[in-house]
Subunit: 367 residues, 2 copies
């Protein structure tokens, strides 16, 4: 059934029924003029992020489930990046009137799946028609006692990054090059389960579009290599900062790229940074794919956006190795140090050059 045949009120009633929360801090949830949340003793954290069709996502390879999941993750990531805990979710969703009901509910399944991971409750929002493009916007309210801004880094602090970087940008490069048939497979994947994207059929390879052959690289890629990268792009999982927040002096989540986001810490903290290229953590899958696709893995890792890893600084006496987060074992890697003023990159041979952020928009999809 088309959305216009169902109507806004009926859809909202259904959402209210399906996603009503039992969170005791919610005094008034979905269904009134505004939500009412009990007073809280901690500081209130608020973030909002928008995702627009054609700008932030491409429906030729993105399923509504992925979209819903990612919408929650990118907002949760901003709360984690402040050292807070995400609590309450508000949604603004605009879809075309002739959109199928199924699209709507699949998107809500993705939203709900992410809500469960992060322990977030849906408390309110707005649902309306769109003339052309689908638009998703979310606001998350969180709480935290100690909040970590971008402005607390001092010379001498070490610079750390969680996980690996460049995976999401590499996943997007794969997705953009796929044949229509391979894109269709991605769109129709069974949803995320125990950390991998699944299909009803066994997938061995994905195919690249013939327009890029005679190709400088292979016209296929193994599923086992592509899957973790594609998943990082379509369904990023935000990194819980609970432990990191005890030590970090400044923090940001990597949404636009490692270097551009490091520069934001430098700008706000009024400091410089020295980064060692050979220390930047990269996944084997990303390095392998970059080789197949003749891309520069260092460029993907330093300028690729949407990894949603945490980039933070901490005093040198703190030793980070492997730390447990709520969701997984979170690896952190020291990639350099905060210095007085300059922004410097050190290459494999030890040669220093100025850190450049040009080109990050080639991979960044944020507008």
């Amino acid at each position: 059934m088309k959305l216009r045949q169902i109507g806004e009120l009926k859809l909202l009633q259904e959402v209210r029924k399906k996603f009503s929360s039992t969170d005791s801090s919610i005094i008034v949830g979905i269904g009134d003029d505004a939500a009412v949340i009990a007073p809280q003793k901690e500081k209130i954290l608020v973030t909002t992020d928008m995702m627009n069709e054609g700008i932030h996502f491409d429906l030729s390879f993105t399923s509504p489930f992925h979209l819903g999941f990612k919408l929650v993750s990118v907002n949760v990531s901003d709360i984690f990046a402040m050292g807070g805990r995400p609590k309450h979710l508000f949604l603004d969703i605009a879809m075309k009137k002739d959109e199928d009901e199924n699209t709507f509910w699949k998107m809500y399944e993705g939203i709900f799946s992410a809500m469960n991971i992060y322990g977030v409750s849906l408390v309110g929002g707005d649902l309306c028609a769109a003339e052309n493009d689908m638009v998703l916007s979310a606001t998350i309210i969180g709480a935290g006692d100690k909040t970590i801004t971008r402005s607390g880094a001092s010379p001498g602090d070490k610079i750390y990054v969680t996980g690996t970087v460049g995976d999401s940008a590499c996943g997007l490069e794969i997705l953009k090059r796929l044949t229509d048939e391979s894109k269709e497979i991605i769109k129709n994947l069974e949803y995320w389960s125990i950390g991998v994207l699944k299909s009803k059929d066994i997938i061995e390879k994905l195919y690249f579009h013939h327009s890029i052959t005679p190709s400088p690289y292979s016209n296929t890629i193994d599923w086992n290599i592509a899957e973790p990268l594609i998943r990082r792009h379509l369904m990023p999982v935000a990194r819980d900062s609970a432990e990191i927040a005890n030590y970090a002096t400044s923090m940001i989540d990597i949404s636009d790229g490692l270097f551009i986001d490091l520069c934001r810490i430098c700008d706000e903290s009024n400091v410089g940074a020295r980064v060692y290229l050979n220390k930047i953590p990269m996944s084997d899958e990303m390095k392998k794919t970059a080789e197949i696709m003749k891309l520069d893995p260092i460029h993907l890792a330093t300028s690729g956006g949407e990894d949603y890893e945490l980039l933070f600084t901490a005093p040198p006496e703190i030793k980070f190795e492997i730390r447990n987060s709520k969701f997984e074992i979170l690896k952190t890697t020291c990639i350099g140090e905060i210095i007085e003023k300059d922004r410097i990159v050190v290459d494999k041979s030890g040669k220093e050059s100025a850190l450049k952020t040009e080109g990050y928009q080639h991979f960044g999809t944020s507008g």
Copy 2:
């Protein structure tokens, strides 16, 4: 200059510079991953509303200033409708890359103008590109001790409405019928000052498009009659509920129409209502315009949306007459009473019939 020539970062820096708040409750404002607000002793109210080009607004007669102003008002109205005080504003704005910088800043002027009226601070948001349609979404965080929901009405309570209803829908009917030249005049009005829309030139009449002549009504309308109605549609002012909240048992703001919004109170309170048509407050300008345009004023008043008046119930012993609000003298009118179960309309002659909400979407512009 086009927005793409300026870039998101530069625009955000400018917004941060121009709209930085001195509100002491804001610990971290614009420019970090999330905003941080000091803990508050009162309950936290949150509302979010989206406005989409082609669905909620028509750029042929709506200026960016009007849009910005209305975006804030409709969200503030939701906070007032709960009996709360609006405090912190978050914006998600999507505009085409080739949009002129001027459009962006005019919209912010409208936002800022409304922020000043309501005493709201801009604390964060997201700015991104749109493929086709302009999309504006706002979230407002408010505070309040006593919150008034839609569910507290009891049989015997009187039903009240602030101001007059049907003005916004009537204003929209005027706007839709205007010639391109008259639309252009409306778009280029000097901004709201001491309660009226102004023009550099003296406007005496607005002209209706010839496609609706030979017309059942006049092909012009006097500016003095049209202006208050058009203003109510383009730049609604939310009604401060501070005094009303001391007495009200239930409350809602009229966004979709008097009858549909009254039915929402009935649904949530599990009660009925009896409404007297001859008591519904209508402005002289609306009645006169309805006559000129051969429209039913009662239909406009009961089914027209976007008045953003407050509809509330209060025990019969409370006498509401004229009450001062923060912004203006707020007239309240008793239009009926809450009863056990049925929803009844009483006409001029005293004849009762079932209250019908059909047709409200003809005038409602919310999706």
